[in-house]
Amino acid sequence: MLSLLRTIWSVFLHAFARRATVQYPEQRPYLAPRWRGRIVLTRSPDGRERCVACYLCAVACPVDCIALQRAVDAEGRHYPAFFRINFSRCIFCGFCEEACPTCAIQLTPDFEMAEYHREGLVYEKEDLLISGPGKYHAYDYYHVAGIAAADKDKGEAEGERPPVDTRGLLP
């Protein structure tokens, strides 16, 4: 009996506790920069598309929501002729981002994608492509580090970049 009263009292004290609810539309939750939300296609610092249409994202995708078609431009550079993500299937696992060899496909901290029609959730290339480099500001797939020679180390010659630290935790 006493324990019941103690239970009731401690529940009553919770009336004065801090609320756990986040009042969403007015009060926004903090989303970490690496939060896995809406998927974007990014560009190199020089403004060209990063995607080389290697299909690795489409292969990695566990729910098969990514569809693309490779094309070759005048320079012989590969690019996706179309790139389509069906967000009504997407589970935001981030495997596509991990698989991407050129950091082209990235997940962003945005989840407000609600639509009245299912077709609205199928994003085409022009919906996915953004104008900036996303999370990796200086990265450019076509810049090479070169090879070490007798008189120079990797990335020291003209038109070369120092190599990426592959053991670092940060991108």
Partner: protein
């Protein structure tokens, strides 16, 4: 003529007030439960979410009013009406303030007990007419629970009757002018409170509609407005029991301040709403009893306790002369 008008106004008030409180409770209960659980509850529709009541009403009224083909149709339709009628009729005898009552019967308390027994029929018929195993099991549990808890609910009130010497609710309140009966009759208050929880099938006595075992108990097969009737019936019953506790143990309309009818009504409303809040607090804190625990608690603890309470009260009243 003004006498008749006043009478009609009282009837209108007694019809509308419990309905308003019961409707408000569908919002208020969720807000209070949220308060005790570190949440906000429905706070979007209208100021502080009060229009949630309206939104729920629109939703439930536009639902399909479906009767299962295997149900016993007339009884199925009748059952939700009985619970509303039975709980509503009890409000007729409650004395809210001096002279504010539909009927100040000299057997008001007995009328209340009779009406609260009638609501068992609603649950029994609903469970039987649904022709489904969960509904039947829920209603069987409910019948067992309500019948056994009614026994000592009546007995717990006899202490009050012995002290006041009458079944008239108005006279009982007037007898509490000096000292509220919660002090000399605390055990009676406690037993009636628990019996009230059981009669209204609230947590921790919500076995008839235990979601985790019986889907929704006796109203499993009900939908739309008929379901809303059961829901409304439960909230009206909570209001009724809170009002009865106020009348019998908390001094009814008595309270500090002026003796005008309006102040008296205000005190009555305040006490009733506070008791409803306690009902909701208990719902937020306690888990459901097992069925054998429920029966044991009823017959082996509460019934002897109420008999001892009645004996001691009777002895003290006789000894004082």
């Amino acid at each position: 003529m003004p006498e008749l008008l006043r009478y009609l106004l009282v009837i209108l008030g007694v019809v509308l007030a419990p309905l308003t409180i019961a409707a408000g409770l569908t919002w208020g209960e969720r807000r209070l439960l949220a308060l005790f659980q570190d949440r906000y509850g429905p706070n979007r529709v209208g100021p502080a979410g009060v229009l949630q009541v309206l939104a729920d009403m629109i939703k439930i009224l536009t639902k399909e009013d479906w009767v299962p083909p295997f149900a016993d149709r007339p009884v199925f339709v009748l059952a939700p009406a009985i619970i509303i009628i039975a709980t509503y009729l009890s409000f007729a005898v409650i004395v809210f303030a001096p002279g504010i009552a539909v009927a100040e019967l000299n057997i008001g308390l007995l009328f209340f007990l009779a009406m609260s027994s009638l609501s068992v029929y609603s649950v029994a018929l609903a469970g039987w007419a649904s022709n489904s195993k969960y509904a039947l099991l829920g209603s069987l549990r409910s019948i067992g629970q309500m019948l056994s808890y009614e026994v000592f609910m009546g007995l717990s009130l006899m202490g009050v009757v012995v002290m006041a010497g009458t079944f008239d609710l108005g006279a009982i309140v007037r007898a509490q002018a000096g000292l509220w009966y919660i002090v000399p009759q605390f055990i009676g208050f406690f037993i009636f409170f628990i019996a009230g929880l059981a009669e209204t099938r609230r947590i921790p006595f919500d076995l008839p509609e235990a979601e985790s075992e019986l889907v929704a108990g006796f109203h499993t097969e009900y939908s739309g407005m008929k379901f809303a009737m059961f829901f409304l019936g439960e909230y009206v019953a909570i209001t009724l029991f809170a009002a009865m506790l106020t009348v019998l143990f908390l001094g009814g309309w008595h309270g500090p301040g002026s003796q005008s009818t309006l102040v008296a009504l205000g005190w009555f409303l305040l006490k009733t709403l506070a008791l409803i809040a306690v009902f909701i607090l208990i719902r937020a804190s306690l888990p459901r009893l097992r069925y054998d625990q429920l029966m044991e608690f009823g017959w082996k603890v509460m019934l002897p306790l109420s008999l001892v309470n009645l004996l001691v009260t009777g002895a003290v009243v006789l000894w004082r002369g």
